[in-house]
């Protein structure tokens, strides 16, 4: 595993030939985990209309449209350390995944406020936490507008400033093609699904996702 690129950019692009190599990669990174109890470690993601989706999922709110930038597993006390996406098929290839590196758009004062202020995480059970937390010596960014609410007045203005900062630098687009795989540092990068290709009435885009927890030494 070439960790250098992952550390430098917060993501790494590579190719995996099948699900087996995807899972081997995940095991190399840490401990693969399922997104919710009882669900498999490997999840298939495809654009679907909102009425097909599980309540509180991104699809239930946004359907076939674009998703807002977020980190995965923000409802967990400790969000997954890495996220791996692999393209199984995408004959059109015009619905990229957008990524944004928080190290590039967060300045020190905003970083301090993200660590000091508190948000309510509407999980089951709900809990409070900061958007930026120190976990095992590393900073972990958590962001998901679906489930996070400012818990006090100062956090409201920080949310507004964070929202504004998200648009202050250009994002990177990952254009999918079969076997293309991306490892995302989920404590550092935000990601989102782009909107449906203009005029498209058919999509066969199928991504596979594995969440990876930091391995306990």
């Amino acid at each position: 595993m070439n960790w250098k690129q992952l550390h430098q950019n917060g993501y790494r692009l590579l190719r995996t030939k099948d699900v087996g190599s995807l899972l081997r990669l995940a095991n190399e990174l840490g401990d693969p985990i399922s997104s919710r109890p009882g669900r498999p470690v490997l999840v298939e993601l495809k654009p679907e209309p909102s009425h097909n989706a599980r309540t509180s999922s991104m699809t239930s709110r946004f359907g076939l449209h674009s998703f807002p930038l977020h980190t995965d597993g923000a409802f967990r006390l400790v969000p997954p350390r890495f996220l791996i996406l692999r393209c199984e098929r995408d004959s059109i290839g015009d619905r990229p995944t957008i990524i944004l590196d928080s190290q590039r758009f967060l300045n020190d004062p905003l970083r301090a406020r993200l660590r000091a202020h508190l948000w309510q995480v509407n999980a089951r059970p709900a809990f409070y936490c900061s958007l930026l937390q120190q976990i095992e010596g590393l900073l972990c960014l958590r962001w998901d507008t679906n489930i996070l609410r400012p818990a006090h007045r100062s956090a409201q203005s920080t949310t507004h400033d964070f929202d504004h900062a998200l648009t202050s630098i250009p994002t990177v687009s990952i254009r999918w093609e079969p076997n293309l795989t991306i490892i995302i540092d989920n404590w550092r990068l935000l990601h989102a699904r782009a909107d449906r290709p203009e005029g498209a009435d058919y999509e066969d885009r199928l991504l596979q996702r594995v969440l990876v927890a930091a391995r306990k030494e």
Binding site: L77, H117, L118, F127, S130, S154
Partner: protein, 308 residues
């Protein structure tokens, strides 16, 4: 019992502190939120040892629930504030029973604010409580490997809090030094006969458990230092019974010669840092005491056997 986990309680303590800091420092909501934050900070502290320390033991189901076992859908209850802070006095180094009483006073005010029509916090100037508040927070935070900055979320607020703690300590130091000087003056003015009488009395004075004799910081006569139990060792067998080592955190100094009295660890530290050091006492238990045996009265007479 996610809600009784250390990390979850800690984040809520931080939230309530943020809400406090957003309020007018002289208004009623600043002490209100600060009181709530202190209680959650203390709960987070006990949860670090184990969340079961938060379970109200009067209902066994509360304890089972901590380990994931439920026998009914009844709401689980935790210990009240008084028990909470008393337990902190056992668990947290240098957090004394006096500190527990201070925290309990704040919790009682919060209770009164919530459950009575009295405007309890309407006139509660920070000068009366904030220095000691930050001092006890700092003791709990140290146990959690955290700092005032972690709780307050801002270096400027943390610096101001640390300054206030120092000022409170300086105020204590001044009060203590003044009373030492005053008692020394009084001692120097008493006659030789009375002085000798007082000295003779303290020389014969027996020490109770958890007490130690030290030199009075005012008149330098032998005086008594006592305190709270920090820990008790396992029993060691000796002739006629068992002995245990009891570690004591000093909280009180009493001199029966110059009548100096100091209450609380910060006051002892201000008088002389050596007085604030923990000490060990040895307690003896007879086999009857150790096993809780009631052997019955020991008669010191015998029945008459028809003696004339």
């Amino acid at each position: 019992m996610e809600g009784w986990k250390e990390a979850v309680l800690w984040e809520k303590a931080r939230l309530f502190m943020q809400r406090a800091l957003e309020e007018d420092r002289e208004g009623p909501l600043f002490p209100f939120w600060a009181a709530l934050s202190l209680e959650l900070l203390a709960r987070s502290t006990l949860a670090r040892v184990h969340p079961v320390l938060l379970a109200d033991p009067r209902e066994p189901e509360n304890i089972l629930a901590v380990f994931g076992y439920r026998t009914s859908d009844r709401a689980i209850s935790s210990i009240p504030a008084k028990a909470l802070f008393s337990r902190c006095a056992v668990v947290v180094p240098n957090f004394t029973t006096d500190d527990a009483k201070f925290c309990q006073r704040i919790a009682s005010l919060r209770n009164d604010e919530l459950h009575s029509g009295n405007p309890v916090f309407a006139d509660y100037p920070t000068g009366q409580w904030l220095g000691d508040y930050y001092r006890v927070c700092d003791l709990l935070l140290t146990y959690l490997d955290k700092s005032l900055e972690d709780l307050l979320g801002d270096a400027g607020e943390a610096n101001a809090a640390e300054e206030l703690v120092k000022a409170t300590q300086a105020k204590i130091e001044k009060t203590v030094k003044d009373s030492i000087v005053a008692k020394r003056r009084e001692f120097e003015q008493i006659g030789d006969v009375e002085r000798d009488e007082r000295l003779a009395l303290v020389t014969d004075e027996r020490l109770s458990a958890y007490e130690k004799r030290v030199s009075c910081p005012s008149c330098e006569s032998p005086c008594i230092l006592s305190g709270d139990v920090v820990s008790v060792s396992g029993p060691r067998t000796v002739e006629d019974g068992t002995e245990r080592e009891v570690v004591i955190l000093p909280t009180k100094l009493t001199c029966h010669v110059c009548e100096l009295q100091l209450n609380g660890l910060p006051h002892l530290y201000a008088a002389h840092r050596d007085l604030a050091g923990q000490f060990t006492d040895t307690i003896f238990e007879s086999p009857e005491d150790f096993y809780g045996l009631d052997i019955g009265p020991q008669y010191d007479y015998e029945e008459e056997y028809d003696n004339e």
